[in-house]
Symmetry: C2
């Protein structure tokens, strides 16, 4: 039986970059850029006035002048008019281009205005310390041609704004991953059906589809009964049409658990079966030569859940952003906890933000891997290593978070 680390490595090794599609920037939030984006102009593209006030020549200030007649007014978005009289000033607004002949801006807060002979005059109360004050200089942040967003960048609000600035009305992004979610199990009935006493409604498939959506992938739900012929016929079209299959149920030791055998028959090569972990040990993983990968997860809901977040989600991210190195969040155990079997234990925890900047992880009581409802009180799992038996309060362990605040 292999370790969690080895299983994770083998899963990640099957990730492949996704093909591109070009979409409108307004549809691209959360998507991953496929080509680098460069600055088409300097950032800022001109000496940009950073405060409302007056623009003038610092030489006049340095010479002790305090009163400046207003020669003109210049709003943002208008072509700049040069200062004609070096001892005068132009009233100017944030976002405007600095007028030729000026090199400093004094903000309204540091000015007083009066009129003399019908001429509006600004008196400088607090002189600026140097030329360039209150000016956001051309190319101060980025130069034309600079790389702004490398390929592989996830487009959040800041990246969308930068793309808008350079006029990227459409962007090449990775197409969404397409995942078939397959539930198996004769005890499972549809959501809309009333189950017989020995039946339950399927829930894992809906959980997996929701988790895929949150991870930026598309999930489509299929159901097969525990019947070899049905699976033998049903799986090949899914292998051909999807990037990955995520199955739940059918991989433990039971008589109806012939899924690994059928998967081999339809051309999926086993990469591993069973991982040294609890819950979720019977996890089976394989890949069709050069094609879809298959995550066959055990059907107990907590096992399905843990395996999704430990293996499937990192695989999705690796496909979406092959270059990204995602940081491993750690959390501090809030109460000591013992787990003796020599396997990695995924401990359900509720998180608390400590005033000292820690994430505190409170172990949550759970009724075993069948206790779906226990997940409602949890924010994630701590991944407790197999070589330890006692996990002490105050120690930090890797956190798998499935709920953000």
């Amino acid at each position: 039986m292999i370790s969690v680390e080895e299983a994770s490595r083998l899963v990640r090794a099957t990730a492949r970059p996704l093909p591109s599609e070009t979409i409108a920037l307004t549809a691209a939030t959360g998507r991953v850029l496929q080509q680098p984006l460069y600055a088409d102009r300097d950032f800022p593209p001109f000496n940009r006035v950073a405060m409302d006030g007056i623009a003038l020549s610092f030489a006049a200030i340095a010479a002790g002048q305090t009163d400046f007649p207003i020669e003109a007014t210049q709003l943002a978005g208008t072509a700049p008019q040069p200062l004609r009289n070096a001892l005068a000033a132009i009233e100017i607004m944030t976002g405007a281009m600095l007028p030729p002949g000026t090199d400093v801006v004094v903000r309204y807060e540091d000015l007083e205005f009066h009129e003399a002979n019908g001429q509006r005059i600004a008196r400088v109360q607090v002189p600026p310390p140097a030329a360039g004050h209150n000016i956001h200089h051309q190319a101060a942040d980025r130069q034309q041609g600079d790389l702004l967003l490398p390929a592989g960048t996830r487009l959040g609000p800041a990246e969308i704004a930068v793309a808008a600035t350079v006029g990227a009305a459409v962007v090449p992004v990775a197409r969404p991953l397409r995942v078939a979610v397959v539930s198996t199990g004769d005890e499972l009935v549809e959501l809309t059906q009333t189950p017989l006493p020995h039946q339950i409604r399927r829930s894992n498939a809906y959980m997996l589809r929701a988790a895929l959506l949150e991870a930026g992938a598309e999930g489509e739900i299929f159901h097969f009964n525990d019947d070899q012929q049905t699976l033998r016929q049903g799986l090949p079209p899914l292998l051909a049409g999807f990037d990955a299959l995520v199955l739940s149920g059918g991989v433990s030791k039971g008589q109806a658990d012939f899924l690994p055998e059928i998967l081999r028959e339809v051309g999926v090569t086993q990469i591993f079966h069973e991982v040294q972990q609890r819950p979720g040990k019977p996890f089976w993983f394989g890949q069709q030569a050069g094609g879809a990968v298959v995550f066959a997860l055990p059907g107990n809901p907590v096992s399905t859940f843990v395996n999704f977040y430990q293996y499937v989600r990192p695989w999705l991210r690796q496909c979406q952003q092959p270059q990204a190195v995602l940081p491993q969040l750690m959390a501090v155990l809030a109460a000591s906890f013992a787990f003796k079997p020599p396997m990695t234990h995924f401990l359900p925890v509720r998180l608390e933000a400590s005033p000292h900047g820690h994430l505190l992880a409170h172990p949550q009581p759970a009724g075993g891997s069948g206790d779906l409802a226990s997940l409602l009180q949890c924010d994630g799992f701590l991944r407790l290593p197999p070589e330890q038996e006692l996990f002490k309060a105050g120690d930090a362990f890797p956190l798998i978070r499935f709920r953000e605040w």
Copy 2:
């Protein structure tokens, strides 16, 4: 000028709960439930077999019996058949209903099988410690009628699974917030246009729309030039048609910044103008009597960004989940930092996950509130309080995070 705390309180006080709409569970990921969901059956609904193996009577084990003839096989999803002979066993699969007459399950791993006179016999190698072993008992997790999901719950993957289990094929959820994003400023041209030397493309509106989407709201973009008549006519239909308006630009001291005046004219009452913070001081906030709220944010991109995450996003969440108390994440300053003005400072930071369970916040150099590109290197802002001037490495401060990993 009011403090950040007071401004935040005044903003949150205007939040109103959203009307309901009923949608398919498959469309409800990330939405907020509007009515409580109860258990329609016990969880589990029957004594559920938790391991593949055999079901038998513990009395026989206690009496020292080790060999059990297999009377029948029962898969998950079939009606249970009672054990006829109390000294025999039923071969049974995970997920099946425990057969009447049995009270314990021995898993395959603890059994060996052989045949005698054509009869399949299971030999118990590791006897179970007590009756009830490997059985997930009816109602162990939840009882019929128990509250599973209170109104106001955000529907993540675990909640979607629980809703599926109780047959909630459609669910009442809060309708999405509708927000009009309004950019102003004559210097701004459309994404698809080539700007003149003194113009720039609009980016704040796209940033705000993306940030709204990430927060689960709908954003629609409008643009008005800095012209009083245009604004006077353009704003009332937006106030009538949206829950909130988020404007950027037009609220500082400049001659073209008549937005507060126009807003008053069209019936929006000012709640505050200017907050003791940097960046983002000129923030104006108001509300139409019983109607839309108006966030008029300063137009410098970093100011817009900070104000969105400090004020707009919490307001959205308060409308979506009025009962939720969201924890305040804290992060540890990785390098000392000085900021003297007596105002709250939003310090751009890059986050690092420490091996000890801290979030470390590295201050990022930025070219001021106009430096949009500096946000690309940041994950959030630390909110540094006004009464301090020196912020020491190792101290923890409230974190506003705008990028998840």
